[in-house]
């Protein structure tokens, strides 16, 4: 219902503007097109550059010959990275952390958002502000760190996952979506003998795939990209996620000529290769869920 509405209005809006295009407007259209192409090019260029570097020889990079195409094409870098056990290990850790974290995040967020979406639930009057307040104020970096160290979670998968387990903002988006599920359907389910868990799992969740797909993407990307939790809490090298490994190789100076810290001595083609390998799964997935997350973000714009 919601979807149709949004689509409909977009379509309607795109028509009236077309009527009677003045000459000035046509000039504008040309400029606008150029601007859009420029923005897209600037957005994509860093990725192309990384790709070019990762397939180039170290000498060509050092001499500044690489700009958009590989120079001295080779796939040695990829062989080195993929054959050396540690990168694969970090990658595996990231996969594990992301899978476990996302599963629990989705489950707990939905369990919070669904009851919150029920206007008839009287304790929501206190629960909603209780949840929302944490968006605007919280313990700072140190109290959080102190708590996690006091709980003896160092080097534990839980230490990586727990700090970002439930995002209040995402819960509010889910809540808006659940609130839009027609209550008649839920009542029909109850009449068929489902209890409230049954209604939630067998009726509401299957109808909520757009928001669940969006949340899956958002949470998964959050865990996939997270280096800071590992930086604080994962001390054993073998347990690092790939994002933290990347942090260790890119930090330090950027200049090939001035290697001051460990990062400086690592070859640019190797860094580029690792960065690309980390970004590729996201690049491959996000366009296919675009319809859903754009819609999901809109829920945040519409105030209840």
């Amino acid at each position: 219902m919601n979807r149709a509405e949004v689509k409909g209005t977009t379509a309607i809006h795109n028509n009236p503007v077309r009527i009677r295009e003045s000459r000035g407007y046509r000039t504008f259209t040309v400029f606008n097109t150029i601007i859009m192409i420029l923005i897209s090019a600037v957005t994509l260029y860093p990725f192309l550059y990384l790709a070019a570097q990762s397939f180039s020889s170290q000498e060509a990079i050092r001499d500044g010959l690489v700009s958009i195409w590989p120079v001295g094409f080779n796939i040695d870098t990829y062989e080195t990275v993929l054959k050396k056990g540690d990168f694969i290990g970090y990658y595996g850790n990231t996969l594990l952390y992301t899978a476990v974290g996302t599963t629990f995040s989705l489950l707990l967020s939905a369990m919070l958002a669904y009851p919150l979406s029920k206007k008839s639930l009287r304790l929501n009057r206190f629960l909603t502000p209780f949840i929302v307040f944490t968006m605007y104020f919280g313990g700072g970096m140190i109290p959080n760190y102190v708590l996690m160290t006091r709980l003896n979670l160092i080097d534990n998968l839980a230490a990586f996952v727990i700090p970002s387990l439930i995002s209040t903002y995402y819960v509010l988006l889910m809540k808006s979506f659940f609130a839009g599920v027609p209550s008649e359907l839920e009542e029909a389910g109850e009449m068929d003998g489902l209890n409230k868990f049954g209604v939630f799992f067998r009726i509401v969740l299957p109808l909520s795939m757009p928001i669940m797909a969006t949340m899956l993407l958002f949470y998964a990307v959050g865990y996939w990209n997270n280096w800071f939790n590992a930086f604080l809490y994962i001390k054993t090298k073998a347990k690092w996620p790939v994002a933290y490994y990347l942090k260790t190789i890119i930090s330090g100076t950027n200049d090939a000529t001035q290697a001051s810290e460990s990062g400086g001595s690592i070859a640019a083609n190797l860094k580029s290769c690792c960065m690309l390998l980390m970004a590729v799964p996201i690049i491959c997935v996000y366009p296919f869920i675009q319809k859903y997350y754009v819609q999901g973000m809109m829920l945040g714009g519409v105030k209840e």
Binding site: M111, L127, P143, K303
Partner: protein, 315 residues
């Protein structure tokens, strides 16, 4: 069973106990998330008390110790004033560029009538939002390195190579520029949503009145999306002293050469508390608390002003 909706309808009359019993399954679902909030959101919030007591590693968070305000003497420290000013400077610069940039980009996107081309540009522009800060900083360092394409361009024109990430005068440019790269596309989503909700008859009426294209944007589109604009502005103002998204990027970009311009409150807090061999948790917490409270106050003021003047607010 069939009676249920009727009872629901008279919900106001039932006692709280009966209400909870009837909805016990929903309240049970809330249990784990609420416990999570209590332990991992509200306990750290209460943990701010270590700003008022001496706390050393391994001690009791809510344990004994004399109350003191001496950890708030950071106000007199040089590094505090420096980091406060740096935080404000980079946040304000970033906001001043990003805010109009995303709005204008959204308005321009809206003028693309070829739907597939529009969607393609959108897809491309959303990409950076999903990329890890680690990769973003890695890209910055590669693109701006002395052997990178920017320096190649400079060399081509006969200029001297610049080691950008080591130069204080380039830091703001790098910070704001990369931020725009990351946020430009994503920032348009809410604007485009608001624009698509505008009643098309308003445009038709404006056209009949002889409004040009530009006038329609100025007098129909912008007033109609004003609530969205103000809401986003309030949120941004509430984050001006905070380092939210900036912390990771700054932490990764920071080096000795640019410390005077790039050191911000959260990197200071980090250094004092976690990054130090002799940590001063209490003062680090005090600075973090100061940051959080100032943000909360700014947000409240911005919200109040917006409610009074524009009629839209967060709460």
């Amino acid at each position: 069973m069939a009676k249920k909706p009727v009872v629901n309808h008279m919900g106001k009359r039932e006692t709280l106990g009966r209400h909870i019993i009837k909805n016990w399954q929903l309240y049970l679902m809330l249990l784990i998330p609420v416990v999570y909030y209590l332990i991992f959101r509200y306990t750290p919030m209460a943990g701010n008390v270590i700003a008022f007591r001496k706390y050393s590693a391994g001690g009791e968070i809510f344990g004994s110790g004399d109350w003191t305000l001496r950890f708030f003497d950071f106000f007199g420290k040089r590094r505090f004033r420096l980091t406060l000013l740096n935080t404000l400077r980079i946040n304000i610069k970033y906001l001043l560029v990003r805010f109009p940039a995303t709005l204008i980009f959204a308005l321009l996107l809206n003028e693309i009538h070829h739907l597939r081309a529009k969607k393609l540009v959108q897809t491309v522009s959303y990409l950076p939002h999903f990329i890890s800060t680690v990769i973003v900083v890695g890209m910055i360092k590669e693109l701006l390195s002395t052997s990178g394409p920017i320096n190649a361009l400079i060399a081509l024109r006969g200029g001297a190579k610049i080691s950008f990430v080591m130069k204080p005068e380039w830091f703001d440019m790098i910070f704001v520029g990369s931020g725009i790269w990351q946020a430009l596309g994503w920032g348009t989503i809410l604007y485009l949503a608001a624009i698509s909700n505008i009643n098309p008859t308003l445009y038709e009426a404006a056209e009949i009145d002889g409004a040009s294209h530009f006038q329609r944007v100025l007098h129909v589109t912008i007033p109609c999306i004003m609530p969205t604009i103000t809401t986003l502005l309030i949120l941004d103002i509430g984050g001006l002293v905070g380092s939210g998204g900036a912390f990771e990027k700054v932490q990764l970009l920071l080096n000795g050469n640019i410390k005077d311009v790039a050191d911000i409150l959260s990197t200071y807090v980090y250094d004092l508390g976690i990054g130090s061999k002799t940590p001063s948790y209490s003062m680090a917490t005090a600075i973090g608390l100061f940051e959080g409270l100032v943000n909360l106050i700014l947000l409240t003021i911005a919200n109040l002003v917006s409610r009074k003047t524009a009629g839209s607010s967060l709460w």
